[in-house]
Structures are given as C-alpha cells and as structure tokens.
Symmetry: D2
C-alpha cells in the first residue's frame, strides 16, 4: 500500500520594504505549501502580493503566517499578550492576507502561527483556542497547521476546523514532543545529510528521535523546512529527496 | 412623495494603542454608517474590534476606511505611491478590517478611502480604479462611498460595484465640486447652525453652495459629519435634526 | 530649620502625531521637572520639540524619559530585552532627546526611565546598571531620577552619576517600598484630598504608608504626579499645595 | 606637489532588526568615512551600535546619516515635510546617533543627509538651512557632507559649519551638477572599470563628465561609493585603487 501523501512547507515572504530574507524563488520550486508573513513580524502589502503571485505561478498552496507585532525581533520574542488580543491580531492578519490573496487570485488555504506565537500555542490552550476562534471567524474553510501531536490540534478540531500536523526537519525535539528552544545548543540541525536521514527514518517508523535519543510517535501531514538558514535550499532539497525516496507523493495537505 | 432616505456617516475608530480621537460613543448615537480606520493612518486590531462591537450594538453599518500608512500625519499627506501600491494596500486594509469585522459579528458593508487617498481618488482616475479593483477583489458586494459627483463614482460602477455619493456637512466646496483643501482659510465650517442650514437647503434644492457662492448640483446618498473637530457632536446632531426636519428618513445607504 | 526643597515631576510630551495625552499646559504650571517621552513608548520629534519649548517658557527643568519601543502598549509591557539592548536603546533615546533639547535651547538635566523599564530597573540590578552606563556615556552631567530607596540609586552613584529619589503621590506602595502593580486593585489613588494628606504626612515623617498600613522610611528629592489620569490636574495642584503648606520650597532637584 | 587627500565614504548600517543590506564588513576595509543610518529610513539602536563599533575597530570615521521616516521605501520617497519638521527630525536623528556613538566610544564627526532628503537639500535652500541649523544646534563641531558644488555648501558655511564636497563614483550627473534621478535610465553606473576610469579622470582634471558628455568643474573632498548594489564591493575597491593610482592619499575629510 502506498504511503499517504506528504506536504513540504516553508516560511516565505519574510521581507519588508527594501529588505529580503531567504531565497523564496528557490524554495517555491521545492515546497508544496508556503506560510506567508502577514505584515506584523515581517511582510507588507507589496511583499505579500509578490509572494502570493509567485506561489500561484509555482503551484504552491498559500497559508497565512500571523505573528506578534515585533518586526525588530522577527516575532521571536514572547510578548505579554492577552488571549483576546491574540484573537484580534490573528483575525486582522489572516483577513489582511486573505485580502491580498484575493487580489493575487490565489486564495489562502490554511493558517500557521509564527515564531513565539506558534510556540506559545503549542503549550497554552487558551492561546491555541484564541487562534482557532479567529481563523474560524474569518473563514471556517481554512485549515490549521500545528505542531505534530500538540494539544492545539484537538482544540482547533473541537471548533470544527480541519487540522494538519507538521514536523520540523531541522529542529531538535525535546522528549515531550516540543521543539528545543532556539537559544539552546543543538536546537537547529545544519547537516543536510543528517536532516534527510532523520526525516527518512521518521517517515518509515512514524517516530521522531528526540535530543536525548528517545523516540516520539507523532502524526504527520507536512514537514517544515526553513528558507532562511545557511544552506537552507540544499537542506530543503535533501528533505524533498528523502520524502520521494521513501515512496511518498508530495502534495499540499490543504484542499479546498 | 417622500424624499429618498439619507445616510449619515462619520470616521470612527481613529485611536491607536492608548490614544483616542473624538467621542465615538456619542457619534454612534447620531450616524447610520461608520467609516472605521484599518490600522494604517489610524486604528489597530484592538480599536477596530472595539469600534465594530460598539457599532453593532448601536445598529450602525460599518465600512472600511483605508488610508496611507502615515500615522504621524493621520493619512493627510499625499505620499508618492504607485497605482499598484494603492491596490495592494487597500486590499490589505479592507481584508484586515473584514477579518476583525467577522470576529465582531458585524460584517463590513462598504469602503471609503481616507484623507489624502480620498482626495487623490477624487481627481486621479488611475487611483480611483486601483481602489475599486482592490475592493472588488476582496468582496464585490462591498459598496464604494465617494465624493458626490466625482469621476470615482462612474469608475467604480464600471467595475460592477455599487456606489454611494456623499456630501460633506462641514467642508467648503470649490466651484468644481471638490473640497477646499484643509490648509486654506474657510475650508472647514464650525458654526452648527450655519452647517445645518446649508445641509437643509442642499436637501431641498439638490445643489450645494460653493465657497464663491456658486451652486453645484450633486447627487447624494450620504452626508459626512466629523467626530474629531471642536463641537463635533453638536454639529452632527444639528445636521441630523436638519435632515429629519426636511422629512427624510435616516437609513444606511448600503444594504447587503 | 527650613525643610529641604522638594521637586514635583510629571510625565509630559506623551502624544504622537495627531494624538495627545493629558493637559501638558496645565501641568507645566504645577511641576518643576518634566519627564519627556523620547519617541519609543510615546513622543516624536514634533511633540518633543513642542514640549521642550513649552517647558522652557514655563521654567520647568526637562529630563529624558526613555521606555520600551512599544507605542501600542505605552511602554507598560515588560518586553524580553537583554541588558545590552537596554543600554543601546537608552543611549539612543537620551541622545535623541538631547538633540531636540539643544534645538529648543533647553538642555536636558536628568533621565528617568518609563513604565515597565522603570519598574524593571527598580528590581533588576543589571538593568539599572545598563541604564546608568548609557546615561553616563551620553552625558555624565545628567542626573538619574529613581524609585526612592531602590538599589538603582546606589548603582547609578557607583558609576559617578548624581541621583535623586522620588516618591509617587498617587500610587500605592508594597511593604518593600516598590509600587503596587497597576493591574492590582488599589494600585492607583484617585482622591485628591487623601493623596495630598498622604504626601503631607510623608513630608513631615519621612515615612510612606504602604498598602498594608506599614510605614516605609524613604529619602525624597522629588514627588511624581501624573498628568494623564482623571482629575490629574486637580490632584497635582493638591499635592503642590500640600508641599507648600509643609513649609518646603519647590525647586528642581537637578542643577547643572 | 602632492594632490590633496581624498576621503571615500559609503552608507553603512542600513539594516533593521533581522535584516541586513550590503557587505558592511568588506566596505569598512575600503572606505575612510561611514554614513550610518539613524533609525528613520533604516537602522536601529542595535545596528547603530554594531556598525559604530565595527567602524571604530576599522579606523573608519563615523557620520550620522539622517533621512525621512520611511523604512518601507528606504527614505527614497520625497515626503511632504515642512522646514521646521526637517529641522526637528534631523536634530532627533543626529542626537540619537551621537548618543549611541558615545556608548560605542566612537564620536560622530559629520552629518550627511540620506536619499530624498539629500536630494531635496541640494535644490531647496530652506531645507538645506534647516538641516544645517539642526546640526549646529546638536554639535557645531560636526561637518556637513554635501553634493559637490551645491548651494547647500555655502548655506551651511554661512551658519559657521565646516563643509566637505562629495562626488558620486557610480551615479550619472546632469549638466547642472545634480544627480540623474534613480528612476531614469543610465542613472546608476555598474561597470567597475568605467567607474574607476571616470573617477581617475575627474581627479586629474577637476571636472566630472555629465550624462550629455558636458564637463562640470566641481570641488571634491570625498567620493561616495555604494555598498548595496550588485558588485558594490568590487566597484568600491576599483575606485579606491584609482584614487591611489592618481597619487592621492586616502584620509577622512573630517578632523575634530
């Protein structure tokens, strides 16, 4: 029996004004879904439109990628924020991205939170629910892309949303299935061969190797690769090759 | 025969963070439509949500009020901007406001450009079309509220959008039907009685008295009153009373 | 023997673009020192210049009032920030305010941190030292205005800076001499008579009554009054009257 | 007789938060003066401090590089701004950069306006004077670096400031000695050999070849090279080699 299809996603459109991060053009040739910054942690109307237009041309499925309003720290700081504020800022950002996506003729299919907001949602039920409520209000047909196995998945499903689980190709895991924080040694893997091998093993076994060598079973619909680290494109290509070598078909998780 | 219904609109939700402008609560008891700032010239997700929630409670129809990204000058400076940039920034802002409106359970019914963008659209066909294209892309059911008699009306209608014409209760007109710029003497009227009398005469005759005493025939579906000038609430009440005294019914122009 | 002179300080210049907070003109007739926002939590070059010019005309001594870059929350959220970042952002803000003060012909005499940065400095020695290092680098003749009795005083003095201690007229104190956080009941006092009586008693006894009725001895060179709360001007006038009734002379603490 | 010394200057520190533009490390090995962004069109306290620290280590003289508050367009749009606003925003930015420079132990020696503000000052006497007034107020020992032969030079000198004239290695000139605007064809030269040859000829003859092949005599103390165009580093090295080949000594124009 053939393995289920697998999606590859990456954060794209993270420039602002004259600034760019990562090689979006190369990544659009590798991934099947693009998490596009909405103008709070990165992105602006021009970058959003250009990224959505390029994703459309490349046949890559777009998702909104809302984050904290913190350009100077790229949405990676945990800012003190109430659940009500999360709900409103996610509705604003998803709506804004949906508006530009309509203009680009490439409608959004899903939402994935960014950076510190993503990490918070993986461990804080109230925040996970606030995000899901905002997504449902703006468009109940949008999927939520969440940390594989996290409580956020069930919370979004309880609100009637479709949910996809993702694993991170180049991030180390703690034994509880959460990511090793970026400020700790070993949190980000850099060797393309080792990354591809780990993903290949995971797809065969359904269990991820954590930083203490323990094994964590987790569901998976999508694999996140990064576009902004050294060697990012080569790593993403190696992950793609490993998925295909395992016999899986690459396809977006979100179908509308 | 009864006169056609008339709408009263005002700019609301023009605060930001800890700041507020105008007495929104009082204005929501007077107007029938609220132009709500979208976060570029004023407003933010919290102010948007609070204003939409209050408008819902007051039975006031909400519209998006996009402007230039220029908080420091309240969207009143003409910033060098291409038509393509206008299209994208309007799609972003209308989408964002629509997202928060969905969360507040009070969907947007129309779009009215703000400040320098509004004035530009009244005289620049390319900009007027860019705004209309953005509105149509985000939601073709949204009305456009434009300067009464301006070319922007026909341009939006040509794209299939519903259009409403508005006159300004407290702004002086040039003989060509455009507004006297704010930096010229006499551009803004301040006497509530004179303002109400001018509107009463206009509703009877269908012609507005310009700054040189010439008379300009113009269509009207809505009258704009301001919430942020000295005596704003008293002026708005006087205008409302003048409309009712003329026998017209007050009702939102946009019906979805 | 006459009591030592007392300074009255308030946060001023907290507007931004079209926005204003508090009645700065009235407060400049009451206080002897003005903590002027530097453009990060509030303020901008125009507001800075106008406030410095008005302070000069009123004979009020100006100080820089740096805070977190968080306009949307008025600098009141504790943002994750390294000591090195604090040092650089304080040097930037104090330098900027000094530049505009030079243009206004009214040089800065002191620095007081704002909001969450102030509260953090009162309990975090590393942050208190970072602020003091930045002040010393920009201008070692600037005084530091700090929470009366806090460790920040000694840390700044150890770097060779002159230090003034301040008490808050309208804020409740915990028994350890820190302020009751703003989100707790009773943190802010609102009754002008009670506030004035508390300050009068403090000036007589040298001890402040805490929220649990315990008494805390604290040094004082300045009393902080607020300009942005309901009844602020009346409260500030009552505090001023209480100081004068106690026989003290009102005078700026910082002499250059 | 030896030719007078020549300075090479470039715009550096034009990053923001996670973003970087150009290869600052390479450019610091080539130039003798660095125009450092002050946080309005680009830059922030962290980038400012890092750039000043690196300039100090490289023995490169730092200058403040103030511009319009327009990150999204990198200070290249002409924003409607009064002379008074220019004065205040330049005082703010120069003061801020001076504050961070003090912290980095590498004091500013000069000021050069950026982008649209620079171009405006070259043709608008009121704006040129406003910039000079702000510089003089903040620190009358700062030099002004201006377009060679422009009226801005005499206006700054009339206020008692020291002035240096600069030519642009890679920008085409109009016959009146102003730069060909960036949106016109041929405005920016890209061939390192041709650029170096043009500068070599200019240093021999004292006259620059304009876009219509006419020759414009202009004084020169500094040559501006860019760090953010394709091949920027190679071009800057070629210009440096051409200066040295002509027998000139490379040295900062500003000596304090």
């Amino acid at each position: 029996m053939a393995p289920p299809p697998i999606d590859l996603n990456a954060d794209l459109g993270e420039g602002f004004g004259p600034y760019r991060i990562g090689d979006d053009a190369a990544m659009l040739g590798i991934v099947t879904s693009a998490n596009i910054a909405c103008g709070f942690h990165a992105g602006d109307p021009e970058v959003l439109f250009a990224t959505l237009t390029a994703a459309r041309a490349a046949g890559v499925t777009p998702g909104a990628h809302p984050g904290f309003a913190d350009r100077a720290h790229f949405g990676r700081r945990l800012l003190p924020t109430t659940e009500a504020e999360v709900e409103r800022m996610v509705a604003y950002q998803v709506g804004a991205a949906a508006g530009v996506a309509a203009l680009a003729g490439h409608p959004l299919a899903y939402v994935k939170a960014h950076g510190a907001l993503y990490n918070l949602a993986a461990v804080d039920d109230g925040v996970a629910r606030a995000i899901a409520r905002a997504v449902r209000a703006v468009d109940p047909g949008l999927w939520c892309l969440v940390l594989a196995g996290s409580r956020a998945a069930g919370l979004a499903e309880a609100l009637g949303l479709s949910v996809a689980h993702e694993v991170f190709a180049d991030r180390a895991y703690l034994p509880d299935g959460t990511l090793v924080p970026r400020d700790r040694p070993g949190s980000v893997l850099h060797d393309a061969g080792a990354i591809a091998a780990r993903i290949g093993a995971f797809l065969r076994d359904g269990a991820m190797t954590a930083i203490d060598s323990s094994r964590i079973a987790m569901p998976v619909h999508s694999i996140c690769v990064h576009g902004d680290t050294p060697g990012a494109v080569a790593i993403a290509q190696a992950v793609r090759a490993a998925v295909l070598a395992g016999g899986a078909v690459l396809a977006p998780f979100a179908r509308r």
